[in-house]
Amino acid sequence: MKTLIQHSIIIYFLISLFACSDDEVKVDPTAGLAKIAESYALGAGVKTELWAKEDLFTGYNNLFVTLYDSITNEQIVESHVHLTPTMTMMGGMQHSCPVINPEGEEAINGLFPASSVFTMPSGDMGTWSMQIRVHNHVNEKFGLANFLVDVKSPVTPRIKSFQTESGRKLFVSYNFPATTKIGINDIEVAVFEMANAFEFPLVGDYQISLEPEMPSMEHGSPNNVNPIVDPDGLYRGKVNFTMTGDWRLHLTLRRGDDTPQSFYFDVTIH
């Protein structure tokens, strides 16, 4: 029995030795994501890559930033990351769009998650560029990476804008954190205000009602949950799809005595 235990310990030790080798295959965190662009953050010696769930479009984009030290190629998982999207119009005028920067300075699974809600597509109106400010904790230097990005109009609109009675301009967009499917789906709604050309704070004081419908059949689904604002400024609720096909999300935004704002987004569930 004693020799058995001794043998077991040796075998166990050997296994754990091999189990922890550096040649272990790591799951690639960017698997399934689309690479938008990469550039070097000059001044910090950081290779910056910009990834997204899908090619960039006007609406709520889930973005992911990965950072690598440009000399050692080691992945940088701790950094201050700040995104600034800028559109340069024909004629020289510039403006930004709503953006949500990564919370904190820790990467999640090697990725720094962020969001950018582009308000118009690239093209005749102008070109979009994305500036990412990073901080390399190895050499304690800051750097700026600049990309030109292509933003397209999606098949159906994924962002709507309206003006309140007091003249504020608001943008509303939605995001499904997971791939949409039949059944219960979590949904996020983001409402941004255009304070000026470069500042778009989140607006959290609306009551949002969300009703899904299949326009071709004029039926909806039961037991949906209206999005309610969370501490991070996004509204979260649940949308139920009873079948695949083309659905229409009817939203109504209410605030105090203001005229309710109603509009819809078309989504296709596969």
């Binding site: 499917k181 039949i182 059944g183 219960i184 299949m214 071709s216 059949m217 004029e218 039926h219 909806g220 689904s221 039961p222 037991n223 139920n240 799809f241 009873t242 079948m243 695949t244 096909g245 083309d246 296709t268 596969h270």
Partner: protein, 664 residues
């Protein structure tokens, strides 16, 4: 013995004594609580009552049995009902095997997959007495397949053809038996093809066509006095119209395979038993391509597979006790899908029956015991363990929209027990009293159904995963008078069903089907009560004349006294038979009273009474080898429909039919 304490002492006439069909002139004895109909082709006049037209379908035969009615949604594929109870309230089996249709709209009760050519008999048990094959509240219908016969005649068989004028319907059929000393083989086959039929007023009833092919084959090997029996059944239906529904059947396919070992040598406490292992699969595809004005084309395929095994047998006599048992297990998995194709848009897909599975295992015990020379008692009991499971995937995700906390599986125990007492009074009077309790689990549609459109009331039905089993407390009393010339029996029945499964409107949910009135969700109501009577008469006026009469009446209502939907009115069929040498002539009067006890929230309307007259004749020539039959159904060309006919679709008008059958 402990087993005897559990087993209640029960008595009845044994099945062997009481077959309805006896091929001689004496009156056959009809079992009171159990009805067996022989369906194989012989020239017996009583058998001619049940299988009036040799092209008749299994449903036509069932419609003449005491207590049985048929719900008609199309001209083929009618759903059997016993005393107003149907679907999950009944056990419908083939040779004791469980099989389940694959259609969410009940277009394929499994009787559609079996032809009279395949059958040697049909046994009907009413109420909780049907619990031998599974705990039940409504009863049981068991269709027994013809087994290969060991015979000194090496080869025998039959072939024939039939024609119906009302639908230009053709029917070809054949069966055969090959026998040697140690093995025997048989087959039966049938092909049907009918166009839409015409009603009494000359209008064609649209979408009432059908085409069907059936083949059944068996092999039996004798091993000493035991036997091994393997059989297969194949049934394909194409283009079966369902006039009362928005869609027809494009294809309905059933496959059944079974292996049976029968042991008759004494083996310990069990005297004789058989073990049967089986597998069957049903594929069913609805089709709307034949319909006009279809708003949106949809594909609706469904699938149902069942595998099972059972052992049933008799114990050696313990004193005067006749004990028999059955233990069984089956597993049924099913799924039905719907894909809709809107113009210029993405197709819409959902599962009307989410992929699910149900496993049931149970035990049944029965004891028959003579209390005295004139008194017998029969007791039986059954307990089942039912596990129902919804598989992960689209179907479960859909139902989470209604039931976010839906559990993957649930288990329910169901039980049944019965006591029947039979008493001979004098020489000609027999009385039987039965009392029993039964339960039944909800069906797939009632549990997991997802927006199932009901054409009758225009509502989408959604299942309820929290349904309780339906229960039944029942009682029957039968009195039968018989002598050499006459046999008349009347049975009164009463059934009280607590937790009756019904569906009510949920006003807060919008329907899915375009144009539907709303959504109804299944739930248990307080109770439902059924009561009624069956009266049967069989009499020889003299050596040539015979009268058969079967009358059925059911009344049913919920706890508020509101009539339940789909309850037939009083129906009666009278047959006058005249037989002389090789000739036999039969005239029938089939009718029903009006039904005004209706349920309007289910979309019912009152149905007027009707009576149709049929004339039939048959002649056996060439030493009974060739039988030529023919007749006129609905002689007066009446335009009518029965209360259980969905959509008030008219029944066929005057139909001239003929059949020619050759035996060898």
């Amino acid at each position: 013995m402990k087993t005897l304490i559990l087993i209640l002492l029960v008595i009845a006439w044994s099945a062997a004594n009481a077959q309805v069909n006896e091929p001689n002139d004496s009156l056959p004895l009809i079992i009171l609580s159990e009805i067996t109909v022989q369906a194989s082709g012989e020239t017996d006049t009583l058998q001619n009552f049940f299988r009036a037209n040799r092209s008749a379908t299994t449903e036509d035969i069932l419609s003449r049995v005491e207590g049985v009615s048929l719900v008609r949604r199309g001209s083929y594929g009618q759903e059997p009902m016993i005393h107003g109870m149907s679907a999950g309230q009944l056990n419908v089996t083939i040779d004791g095997m469980k099989m389940f249709g694959a259609c969410t709209d009940k277009m394929d009760p499994i009787s559609i997959y079996v032809e009279p050519q395949n059958l040697q008999g049909i046994t009907v048990m009413k109420g909780s007495l049907g619990s031998k094959t599974g705990s039940t509240v409504g009863g049981a219908i068991d269709m027994q397949l013809i087994q290969p016969r060991f015979s000194h005649k090496r080869f025998s068989g039959q072939a024939g053809t039939g024609f119906q004028s009302i639908s230009k319907g053709l029917n070809y059929y054949a069966n055969g038996n090959i026998s040697s000393t140690t093995s025997a083989y048989n087959f039966s086959t049938s092909y049907r093809n009918a166009d839409p039929y015409t009603a009494g007023n000359g209008t064609t009833v649209p979408y009432s066509q059908y085409e069907k092919f059936n083949f059944s084959g068996g092999s039996k090997w004798s091993i000493g006095s035991d036997s091994l029996y393997a059989n297969v059944l194949i049934d394909n239906g194409w283009d079966i119209g369902f006039t009362a529904l928005p869609m027809d059947v494009g294809l309905a396919k059933a496959r059944l395979y079974a292996l049976t070992y029968q042991r008759v040598r004494c083996h310990g406490p069990v005297e004789t038993f058989r073990v049967k292992a089986y597998f069957n699969s049903v594929f069913h595809r609805m089709d709307d391509t034949q319909r006009e004005n279809v708003v949106m084309h949809m594909d609706m395929p469904g699938e149902s597979k069942t595998s099972g095994i059972f052992v049933e047998g008799r114990f050696k006599r313990a004193g005067k006790h006749e004990l028999s048992f059955r233990t069984d297990f089956y597993y049924n998995s099913a799924m039905a899908e719907m894909t809709m194709y809107p113009n210029n848009e993405t197709p819409m897909y959902m599962q009307t029956w989410p992929a699910s599975g149900r496993g049931v295992s149970g035990i049944y015990i029965e004891d028959k015991y003579p209390l005295s020379a004139s008194t017998r008692i029969k007791m039986d009991a059954r307990v089942d363990m039912n596990t129902t499971r919804i598989k992960d995937g689209v179907g479960k995700d859909q139902l989470q929209v209604f039931y976010p906390e839906i559990s993957s599986s649930s288990t329910a125990v169901t039980k049944a027990f019965n006591v029947s007492l039979q008493q001979m009074i004098g020489n000609s009077l027999l009385a039987e009293f039965h009392s029993g309790y039964g339960e039944r689990i909800p069906t797939l549609s009632e549990t997991y159904g997802f927006y199932l459109f009901n054409r009758s009331d225009g509502f989408d039905y959604v299942g309820n995963t929290n349904l309780k089993s339906e229960k039944s407390i029942s009682s029957d009393f039968t009195l039968m008078f018989f002598n050499d010339n006459i046999q008349i029996s009347g049975t009164g029945f009463f059934r009280y069903l607590p937790d009756y499964i019904f569906a009510d409107v949920d006003a807060g949910i919008r329907p899915m089907t375009a144009g539907a009135n709303g959504v109804k969700i299944y739930h248990n109501i307080n109770s439902a009560t059924y009561y009624g009577a069956d009266v049967s008469l069989l009499t020889n006026l003299n050596n040539y004349f015979r009268i058969v009469n079967v009358m059925k009446y059911t009344r049913a209502e919920d706890q508020t006294g509101t009539p339940l939907p789909m309850i037939p009115p009083l129906t009666n069929i009278t047959a006058l038979q005249f037989a002389y040498k090789q000739w036999s002539i039969q005239s029938e009067f089939e009718g029903a009273l009006s039904q005004t006890r209706i349920n309007t929230s289910f979309g019912e309307d009152p149905t007027p009474g009707y009576m149709v007259i049929n004339l039939r004749a048959q002649c056996a020539v060439i030493k009974q080898r060739l039988i030529i039959a023919g007749g006129i159904e609905n002689l007066s060309d009446l335009t009518y429909h029965a209360h259980l006919d969905w959509g008030n679709v008219y029944r066929p008008g005057r139909n001239f039919y003929s059949t020619v059958t050759f035996s060898f």
